[in-house]
Every structure is written in structure tokens, then in C-alpha cells.
């Protein structure tokens, strides 16, 4: 057949079946204006609460900070402060305690905020107790091989702690260290420059993997690692655990060879855990047209955001 005939047939068939796709614009509905209150209370630290308003999906400027809100933070059975607004250099507005209060572990905190005609918002959270842990048996420069026969280098240590019995507990583990990167100095020379790095970590402990509500990505063709391990005590309830933690690294002349690791174990309130899990899921599947959309956890009555607590324990190894 001639080229023309092929082209005519092609146009006829495809136009009839596939390429009649049209993109049509539909205006998005405008949301009702609400206060967004974000406050993560850390035991032993001063509170800092951000207050802003939500935006329509078409808004292109961030943040919409609220600088005139009345924000009251109360420690149940203790003090109550009206927080003062402070705007940071990057234009975020935080509300801070004028009395420089410190958040106590095991205490319950309530927050109330209102501004102009927006509905007042309210939230409550418990700040959990810190968890004592140990990080031992650091082994460096270990090797595992992935399915494509590629060698992957990592350091490994054992994390041990006891989960408090009779209550739901939620954790987050992260590792930071000083690494080096290569930069070109003013003379055009390559120099090692120290940089604070969040380690990419993983665990091979099945109980911990199963205890996380963040689905683990396919771990067979490559070894996935994460900036933090977020898990519950679903499968370790009340137990003493000893978990191997791998820190995936590059062992070449450009990176620090034997870094000192700062291990941080956060004991999270349930609301913080739910927030982290759903936030992770939403971002992971944000552009996946086949995934069910994820609703990020929100515990602010009449508003949006998160009000939660955590207690942090730290170890340095070696």
C-alpha cells in the first residue's frame, strides 16, 4: 500500500479510537478559609506553634501566615500562656511562650487559637516519656549484594530498648553524622568540605518492618533506605528489642571514612505518628493516578494541621 493510504488508515483508526482525547479545564472549587495550626511539642524544649490559613489549590504564594491570632497554650493542671507571634526571616510566623516555658514529658497540653472571622480552633495532645536505648556493636564497611549483583556498602549497629508495656507506643529513629563532600575552592581545587548528613537507614528486622504503617517499597531488586524509620509497637508490645540497623553509605575517597554517628530515638505521640505515616503516603503517591488519595491526619478541631508531642533520646557512637 502507498504511504498515503497508510496515513489515512492510521488517522482513521487512531482518531476513532484513541486520540480523540481532549483536555478540558474545569475550575477548582474554592475552599472555606480555616486556621492551620502546626505545633510539635518536644519534651525539654520550648513550644513553637505556627499559625496560618489554608489556600486553594491554585494559590501560588506560601506561607499565608497569621500574625494577629490569639493563641493560648495550656499545660493541663499547670500553667496557661498566651503565646506571642514571632516572624522568622523566611517569613514563617511562630507563636512562642513569653515565659519561656519548657514542655514536660508525660503531660497533656491543650491549645486554642482564634483570629478575626475564622472559626476558632482547638487541639489537645500528650507528650510521651523519653525512652532509654542503647546503640552497640557498630560494624563498619559491611557488604551486601543486590539482585543485580551490585555490591552495597553499609555500617551496622544494634539498637536495643524496652517498649513500655500496656500502652501504644510509636517511634522514629534517625541517624546523623558529619560527612564530607567535594567542593571546588576559590583556587579551583577540589577540597573536602564537612556537611551534616542524615543517614539513609534500614533494618532487616521483620517485626519492625511489619510494625510500620508505611508500606515498605519493593526490597528485592535493591535495598531501600529511609531518612527515618517510623514504626509502632504493634509487634513488639512490651518487649525488649535488639534491632540491627544498617546505615547505607558510600565508601570512596570522597566521603568520610569512619564517621561518628548521632542516633536519635523519638518517642512519638500517636497523633504525630499518624501524621507522619499519612504525610509519607500522600507524598509517595501524590502523582500516582492509580493510587487511592491519602488524607493527611489532622487533629485540629474546626481547622487543619497537627498538634502533637515527642520525647527524644540521643546516643553517640562509637
Amino acid at each position: 500500500m502507498s504511504n498515503k493510504l497508510y496515513i489515512i488508515l492510521f488517522i482513521f483508526v487512531t482518531a476513532g479510537q484513541f486520540s480523540c482525547t481532549r483536555d478540558l479545564d474545569i475550575e477548582l472549587p474554592e475552599p472555606q478559609k480555616k486556621l492551620v495550626l502546626n505545633g510539635i511539642l518536644t519534651a525539654g524544649q520550648s513550644p513553637a506553634i505556627s499559625v496560618e490559613t489554608n489556600s486553594g489549590m491554585h494559590a501560588d504564594s506560601f506561607p499565608h501566615s497569621v500574625k494577629t491570632a490569639r493563641v493560648i497554650l495550656t499545660e493541663r493542671g499547670g500553667w496557661s500562656d498566651t503565646l506571642l507571634a514571632y516572624t522568622s526571616s523566611d517569613n514563617y510566623t511562630y507563636y512562642l511562650s513569653p515565659a519561656n516555658r519548657t514542655i514536660q514529658q508525660g503531660k497533656i497540653y491543650e491549645i486554642f487559637a482564634m483570629d478575626n472571622k475564622l472559626p476558632p480552633v482547638f487541639a489537645v495532645t500528650t507528650v510521651p516519656d523519653s525512652v532509654a536505648f542503647d546503640a552497640t556493636n557498630l560494624q563498619r564497611n559491611k557488604i551486601m549484594t543486590d539482585i543485580n549483583n551490585i555490591k552495597i556498602y553499609y555500617d551496622e549497629f544494634n539498637l536495643s530498648f524496652k517498649d513500655a508495656p500496656g500502652e501504644k507506643n510509636f517511634y522514629s529513629l534517625s541517624v546523623t553524622y558529619i560527612d564530607t563532600i567535594m567542593q571546588i575552592d576559590g583556587n579551583g581545587n577540589l577540597v573536602h568540605t564537612p556537611i551534616l548528613t542524615t543517614g539513609c537507614i534500614r533494618t532487616s528486622d521483620a517485626q519492625i518492618v511489619q510494625s510500620s504503617d508505611i508500606p515498605v517499597e519493593d526490597d528485592r531488586t535493591s535495598f531501600n533506605c529511609y531518612s527515618s524509620l517510623i514504626f509502632s509497637d504493634k509487634f513488639i508490645q512490651g518487649k525488649s528489642v535488639n534491632i540491627p540497623i544498617q546505615i547505607m553509605r558510600s565508601y570512596d575517597e570522597y566521603h568520610a571514612q569512619n564517621p561518628v554517628y548521632k542516633i536519635t530515638l523519638h518517642h512519638l505521640s500517636e497523633s504525630y505518628y499518624q501524621y507522619l505515616v499519612t504525610l509519607n503516603l500522600q507524598n509517595r503517591f501524590r502523582n500516582n493516578p492509580f493510587a487511592e488519595p491519602v488524607q493527611v491526619y489532622n487533629n485540629i478541631q474546626n481547622g487543619l494541621g497537627i498538634f502533637c508531642g515527642k520525647a527524644t533520646s540521643v546516643k553517640i557512637i562509637p
Binding site: R22, I40, Q282, F290, E292, Q295
Partner: protein
């Protein structure tokens, strides 16, 4: 027979006292038995088959009616009927939609086989319906669609599609534009039991759901049941679509086919031995690949070689050993194949590179059924069936690359790697069913079946080779074996001339991985005549489902994964209650109104963020189980007689779901919750040669979860744990908070059948126009940015199928004229061809 009943009474009386202790089962069986034992002795029993006079094809659901006693029955799935009368004689009439009535006087027990002639043969234009009026049936929520009518309704690209026609009925919601997804009374697509000659078909989609796998030329009848399920059926919650294949012409050889824009069909049928056995073989294939492959190759400069096609093959053989036993063998094979390869070559003075990618995707079903029909006695009909059903989905890709170093050949490399994925389900089943008509007022069916499932949830194989070093590995879930068993009994009982009821009990069990589940499911439907042509109906049924379908729900992708219940994932179950009203006006118009309420438990859905792409592995962890509700009212006005036939259907309904870990545990509207759904279908026969047809559809838009607002991710000043600081949260107040624009469409068709007298050749030209006013209905929507105002986020609607005209040429060619009489059809005891009077 008297001996049988005498002996039976003793046995039954012993059982009655025992069964009374077992609640519903006891009450049901006792009620049935008392009902027919209390009746006076019966005088004559007449049984036989109702067939098409020309082809010998059995007519399913034909009405056999005694005009003297006003008792009647209908033929079963195999065209068999049995009627026992208390009179000395009867004036039996057999009727079927589109056929002339036949009538015979009988005076003693025996066999009467009715051969009905098509009205078309007699040059009549009107379609005459049977008097199996809607108001007289005890069964409700059931629609039988004649295949002739299905073929006359305008279709997308001229491809006759059973599923698309079913989607036009009230209570049935379609999925997205153009696809075969079906949502019956708020149920999911996994809750439909789709049977082809009694064998479940697990994936009914061709071309990603735009066409169904059922070839109209090979189909004899289509029945949809939406509620009030008879005890015969089980295993799904929401609907049964029972499709029976043609058997093949017993008298003459015929070729039938069609040439369409997308595909062509060819069907051959005829006797293996006249009046003893027949065959039918029907095939269909697309030629998209033949058209597009050379074009794509030229466009890509010879680098790309892509193609897609699908094909179907239906075949059925039957052999009549005697009037009392017949054997059938039917099979279906269908496959969609999409694949291709690309190659890339490069050469210079230093090296020569060749690389390429080959990929393939294919999926399809195989079903086979071996069936033995035996007339045990004039009152007992037995059907024994062995079936096999398979669904497979395969995808694979290979990369290869070869580099020849011309300077230093030792540095040449050769790389090859591949990935293959396969999933599917295999069923082997055996079922035994009995039809027993002891007295005119009772039509009892009972039987049992066993299905052995083999699930292949998905295995992935990787292999790679680098020069001479190679490895391969297989990972993924292993096969899961399961057994499903069921037994049932039901009785269609005419308690009084005004009150008829269908009582039944379906018991089922499922065993998988040393876990056992069982359920007992009562079924009841009843009707009361309140006027001669008006009745009220009610039904209640309980259903259990042991299989789950992991699917993306919207588009009919072949990645559908059928999986069993497990220790973690519990069986779905539901109850449905319905009340209805049915009325026939002037024997022309049938009106029905049905209200229903359905509750479902353990329905499945993906957890937040989970989806069918990452669901084959650890699939149980990706699922959540919850509850569902659906309630609504369906209106149907149908005209089956006259020059104008068709229906108007309207559904007003609400469907909700509730899962603990979705939407904060609060109920939300289901994706396919559709408040209003209207369908108008009309076929007008202008004369013997010309027919025009049209359909109009209006439906509320699908529900969709759409983020409507955003705000910043919380900043943890003591160290960001989330890793998302600087991004924003997209928020929606509830799941499925938005409705896409309403759906509406008008299709028109014209059929022209010229008067030809060329050696039995008949031609039919069909011109269909799909989406006449080119409404751009949404196929899917997504968040994007405006083309007119760049940078402004908007909702983008993607529409498929604007106005699409198509022309299909159908033909039928009989090799020799059909004989008017044959030995088989003369087989009667009480009637002869002389007293089979055509009205």
C-alpha cells in the same frame, strides 16, 4: 410414580420432625414438602423441549401453559420443561419472544417437543412477545435480554456488546466512559458472577475494557439477576449474568459473520449428523495490529514494531444420544496481545552498537464445559457439568545490547536482561443439578457443586546476562490452592393462584490454607397478584463471597488479580431486601418499580496510598475491609411487542462505604454512587428491510476525591522527622468529595436488510453513530495546569470518543435449506405434527 410418592411420604414424615428443630432450613423444607404432599393425586405429566423449528436451537425461558387449567411453567437453561396437571387433558401452548406460538391438545402423560417458528420467517414485522408476563413471575430483579434485541442496539464501533447493553438496565451502573465495568446495586466489579455456559469468566474485558469478550454471534441468551437470587446461584454478592452459548443448527449448515471497523466475525454451524448432533464455531479478531504495525514502523524509521490485537474463539458441540440424554462440549478461548520491539543501531570506525527492547503483554480466558443432560423421568431433569476456567495475565520485557569494539575485540560486551510477570486463576469444577416438578405448583431445583481454585497471585522472574556471566531468579507469591463447595435447594411454589413464592437455601463452604469458612444463605422471593395484570413482589437474600478482586476499578486493565479469602481477609457477605410492583398494560407495556436496600460486610478497598500496582506482593497488607450500603428505587417501562420495542429505565440510588482507616472511619459515597441514572432504548422496525434504533443515557457524574486546599507541612524546629518540610499538605474534607460532570450520550443506528435471493445469502448493513452530539464525557480527570492561563492549577478532564460513526456489514449464508420436519421433532407420545397447531 405412585410407589415413589408412597415411599417418599414415609421418609419425609420422619424427616419433618427432625428438620423442624433446625430453624429456617427445617421450616423451608417442611413447608415445601407439606405443600405438595397435601395436593390431590396428579393425572398427567407432560415434558419435553422447546426448540427453534429451523435450527433446533433450544429456547431458554419459553413459556408452556395449559389454557384449560391455567397452570404453566417455563423451560430451563436447556430448553426442557415438565408440567404435571390434575386434569384429564390439557391444551398446551408454547411461546417465546420473537416466535409464533404453538399449541397442542394432550390427553395422557408423555413427551411433547415444541418447535417454534420465527415470526420473521412468515414475513411478519411485529415482534410478538411471550405471555410470560413480568407480573406473574415470582422472581424479581431479573431481566432477560433477547440476543436479537442486543444486536439491534447501536454500539461503539459497531461491535455488539452484551455487557454494554446490560449497563443500560436500571440498577446497573457502568464504570468510566466506554468501559465494561459493571456496578450492580452499589456492588463492586468483583461482585458480579459472570457465567458463560455455566463457567465463571474472570476477566470480561478486551482492549482495556472498551469491549467485552462475548461475541454476540455465539450467544443464545443473556439473563441478569440483580437481587432476590435463586438458591441455584452463589459465590458473589451483587449480580449474576448468565450467558448461554448457541448450540449450532441441527438441520443445516450456516455461515454468519460481520465485517466491522475494528474487527470481523465469522461463525459456522451445522449438523454433525442431522438431528443427532451439531456444532458451532465462532471467531472474532481485530485488525488493529495489521493496520497500525506498518504505519508505526514507517513513522519510527523502522525502529519501532508495535501491535495490539484481540481474538475470541467460541465453540460448542452437542450430541443427542436419545430423547432423554444429551451431551454438550463448549469452549471459549480469548486473548488480548499487545507487544512490540524497538531496535537501535550505531556504527562508526571504532565500534558497532546494537541494542533493543522487546516487550509483551497478553491476557485472556479459557473456559470449557462438558455437560450431560439426562431426563431421569418426565418429572426429573438432571444436569451434570464438569468445567474448567482459566485467566492469565502475562507481561514481560527484555533488553539486549551488544557492543563490538573494532579496535580491541576483547573489550566487546554483550548484555541481556529480562523481567517476566505472570498471574492468574484456574478453576476446575463439578456440579450436579436436578429439576424436579412433582406437581404443577412446585418446581424444585436442588444440587451441589465443588470448585477447586488455584490462585497465582503473581510471580516475577528476573534474568540477566553480562558477557558470559548470567543469573536468574524467581520471586513473588507462590500458588494458593482452595476448595469451594456449595449445595442448594429451591422451590418455586404457587401457593395459591394469586400467591407464588420462591424459597431456597444455599449453603457454601470454603477452605484455604487450613482455614475454613462456611455460610448458610436463605433466599426468598414472592409475588402476590393484586389484579389480573398487576402484582406486588418482595425478596430477601443473603449472599457470601469467598473471592476478592484487586483491581484499579476504573479502567479495565488486565492486571485484575483474583485472590481468595485468607486468615486475615474475611469473606464478604451481604443481605438484600427488595419490594416491587409489576404491571402489564394492554399486553404491550410492562411497568415495574423496585425499591431495594443492600448491606455489605467485609467489602475490600485499598488502604491509603495502596494501589493495584504494588498490590500483588503482601497484598493482604494493602487492603482494608469495611462495610457498604446501597439503597434506591428502579423504574422500568418496557415494550416488547409491536413495531416499536425497547425500554426506559431510571434509577435513583445511594451507595456508601465505610472503612476504619479511610475518611477518619466515617462513611463516604462510593466512587460509583450515582444519584440519577436514566437509559432510553428504542428500536423501530419501519418495514421488513429497515430498522432504526437509538439509545440515550444520562447519569450523575462519578464521585472523585479531589484535594481542594493546601497548607504547609508542620515544621519541627527540633529536627525534621518527616523529610517533607517545605512541601505542602493537599487536603480534602472527605473521600469522594467531588463529582465529575454528568454523563450523557445519544447513539443512533440504522439497519438495512435488503431482499436478496442469492442461494440463501442474507445481508444486513448497520450504520451506528456513537455519541451523536459529541458530548465530551470524562474518561478521567486529574489535577493539572491550565493551557490558557499557564501556572493556574485546574482540573483537567480527559474525554474519549467524540462522535464516532461506524459501518458493519453482517451476512448469513445457509448452505442448504432447513428441513421443515425431522425425526427428532416428531418424537412425541401424546402429540404428533398434526396436532401441533400454529396459531
Amino acid at each position: 410414580m405412585n410407589y415413589f410418592f408412597g415411599y417418599g411420604k414415609v421418609i419425609f414424615s420422619v424427616y419433618i420432625s427432625h428438620l423442624m428443630r433446625h430453624s429456617f432450613t427445617g421450616i423451608f423444607i417442611t413447608a415445601c414438602l407439606c405443600g405438595f404432599l397435601a395436593l390431590p393425586a396428579q393425572k398427567i405429566t407432560v415434558s419435553g423441549y422447546v426448540t427453534d423449528a429451523e435450527t433446533g436451537e433450544q429456547l431458554i425461558g419459553a413459556v408452556v401453559y395449559d389454557k384449560l387449567s391455567q397452570a404453566g411453567t417455563t423451560t430451563n437453561h436447556y430448553g426442557f420443561y415438565s408440567i404435571t396437571l390434575s386434569a384429564d387433558s390439557a391444551l398446551l401452548t408454547a411461546s417465546y419472544v420473537g416466535y409464533k406460538h404453538a399449541q397442542v391438545t394432550v390427553a395422557k402423560s408423555g413427551t411433547v417437543n415444541f418447535r417454534l417458528s420465527l415470526l420473521n420467517d412468515l414475513k411478519e414485522v411485529e415482534i410478538k412477545a411471550t405471555r410470560s408476563s413480568i407480573e406473574r413471575e415470582s422472581q424479581m430483579s431479573t431481566v432477560v435480554i433477547p440476543v436479537t434485541q442486543i444486536k439491534e442496539i447501536p454500539a461503539l464501533l459497531g461491535e455488539v456488546d452484551v455487557i454494554k447493553v446490560i449497563q443500560l438496565l436500571p440498577g446497573v451502573q457502568k464504570g468510566t466512559e466506554g468501559t465494561s465495568g459493571m456496578y450492580v446495586r452499589g456492588g463492586g466489579p468483583d461482585q458480579n458472577l459472570i457465567l458463560l455456559d455455566g463457567v465463571p469468566v474472570y476477566n470480561v474485558n478486551h482492549l482495556f475494557g472498551f469491549f467485552s469478550v462475548f461475541n454476540g454471534d455465539a450467544i443464545n441468551s443473556v439473563q441478569l439477576i440483580k437481587g432476590g437470587f435463586p438458591a441455584y446461584y452463589g459465590g458473589r454478592l451483587s449480580s449474576v449474568i448468565d450467558i448461554t452459548m448457541k448450540e449450532g443448527d441441527l438441520n443445516s449448515y450456516n455461515l454468519e459473520g460481520g465485517i466491522g471497523l475494528l474487527a470481523s466475525r465469522l461463525t459456522a454451524e451445522g449438523p454433525i449428523k442431522k438431528n443427532k448432533g451439531s456444532f458451532i464455531i465462532s471467531g472474532r479478531r481485530t485488525y488493529l495490529d495489521l493496520l497500525m504495525r506498518p504505519i508505526l514502523r514507517r513513522i519510527s524509521g523502522g525502529q519501532a514494531n508495535l501491535g495490539y490485537y484481540f481474538y475470541d474463539l467460541n465453540t460448542k458441540l452437542n450430541w443427542r444420544f436419545s430423547d432423554k440424554d444429551r451431551l454438550y462440549l463448549s469452549a471459549y478461548l480469548g486473548r488480548d496481545v499487545f507487544g512490540g520491539k524497538t531496535t537501535d543501531k550505531y556504527e562508526d570506525e571504532y565500534e558497532k552498537n546494537t541494542s533493543g527492547i522487546r516487550f509483551g503483554l497478553n491476557w485472556g480466558n479459557i473456559t470449557t464445559a462438558l455437560r450431560w443432560n439426562l431426563v431421569v423421568s418426565p418429572k426429573i431433569f438432571h444436569n451434570l457439568t464438569a468445567t474448567y476456567s482459566q485467566y492469565r495475565f502475562r507481561v514481560g520485557a527484555n533488553y539486549y545490547g551488544k557492543r563490538i569494539d573494532k579496535i580491541n575485540p576483547d573489550n566487546s560486551t554483550e548484555v541481556e536482561s529480562g523481567i517476566r510477570y505472570i498471574s492468574g486463576i484456574d478453576d476446575v469444577a463439578l456440579r450436579s443439578d436436578f429439576d424436579f416438578t412433582p406437581v404443577p405448583s412446585h418446581y424444585i431445583k436442588f444440587g451441589a457443586n465443588a470448585i477447586f481454585h488455584t490462585f497465582s497471585p503473581g510471580a516475577t522472574t528476573y534474568d540477566s546476562r553480562y558477557n558470559n556471566i548470567s543469573f536468574d531468579t524467581a520471586i513473588g507469591s507462590g500458588k494458593i490452592y482452595a476448595g469451594e463447595f456449595a449445595a442448594y435447594i429451591q422451590d418455586d411454589w404457587e401457593i395459591t393462584p394469586r400467591w407464588k413464592t420462591n424459597l431456597g437455601m444455599h449453603a457454601s463452604a470454603f477452605t484455604v490454607q487450613r482455614k475454613f469458612y462456611g455460610s448458610v444463605q436463605p433466599r426468598l422471593s414472592t409475588r402476590v397478584m393484586i389484579m389480573p395484570q398487576m402484582s406486588v413482589k418482595g425478596s430477601f437474600c443473603l449472599m457470601t463471597q469467598y473471592l476478592h478482586l484487586l483491581t484499579n476499578s476504573g479502567v479495565g486493565l488486565p492486571t485484575d488479580l483474583w485472590l481468595p479469602v485468607t486468615a486475615k481477609i474475611k469473606p464478604q457477605w451481604a443481605y438484600q431486601g427488595a419490594l416491587g410492583w409489576a404491571y402489564t398494560l394492554k399486553e404491550l407495556y410492562e411497568f415495574s418499580v423496585e425499591g431495594y436496600y443492600k448491606r455489605m460486610w467485609n467489602v475490600i478497598d485499598y488502604k491509603n496510598g495502596a494501589n493495584f500496582i504494588n498490590s500483588s506482593d503482601n497484598w493482604e497488607d494493602n487492603l482494608t475491609q469495611g462495610r457498604g450500603w446501597s439503597y434506591g428505587t428502579e423504574f422500568l417501562v418496557q415494550r416488547k411487542e409491536g413495531k416499536l420495542t425497547g425500554w426506559v429505565g431510571y434509577t435513583l440510588s445511594w451507595t456508601l462505604r465505610q472503612f476504619n482507616d479511610r475518611n477518619y472511619g466515617r462513611p463516604f459515597f462510593y466512587k460509583y454512587d450515582r444519584r440519577h441514572d436514566l437509559s432510553v432504548v428504542a428500536v423501530y422496525r419501519i418495514n421488513q428491510n429497515w430498522r432504526v434504533s437509538g439509545t440515550f443515557i444520562y447519569a450523575t457524574g462519578n464521585a472523585l476525591t479531589l484535594p481542594t486546599e493546601k497548607y504547609n507541612v508542620a515544621n519541627d524546629l527540633q529536627g525534621d522527622i518527616s523529610g517533607f518540610f517545605g512541601l505542602y499538605v493537599e487536603n480534602f474534607d472527605r473521600v469522594n468529595n467531588y463529582r465529575v460532570p454528568d454523563y450523557h450520550r445519544l447513539d443512533l443506528g440504522v439497519n438495512y436488510s435488503p431482499d436478496l435471493d442469492f442461494k440463501g445469502l442474507k445481508l444486513d448493513f448497520n450504520l451506528s453513530v456513537y455519541n451523536v452530539y459529541s458530548r465530551l464525557n470524562p474518561f478521567f480527570v486529574y489535577l493539572g495546569y491550565s493551557d490558557k492561563d499557564p501556572g493556574k492549577p485546574v482540573l483537567k478532564k480527559v474525554a474519549l470518543f467524540p462522535i464516532i460513526p461506524s459501518l458493519t456489514i453482517n451476512f448469513k449464508w445457509g448452505f442448504e435449506p432447513a428441513p421443515r420436519k425431522n425425526k427428532y421433532n416428531k418424537t412425541t407420545e401424546t402429540s404428533s405434527p398434526e396436532n401441533q397447531i400454529n396459531e
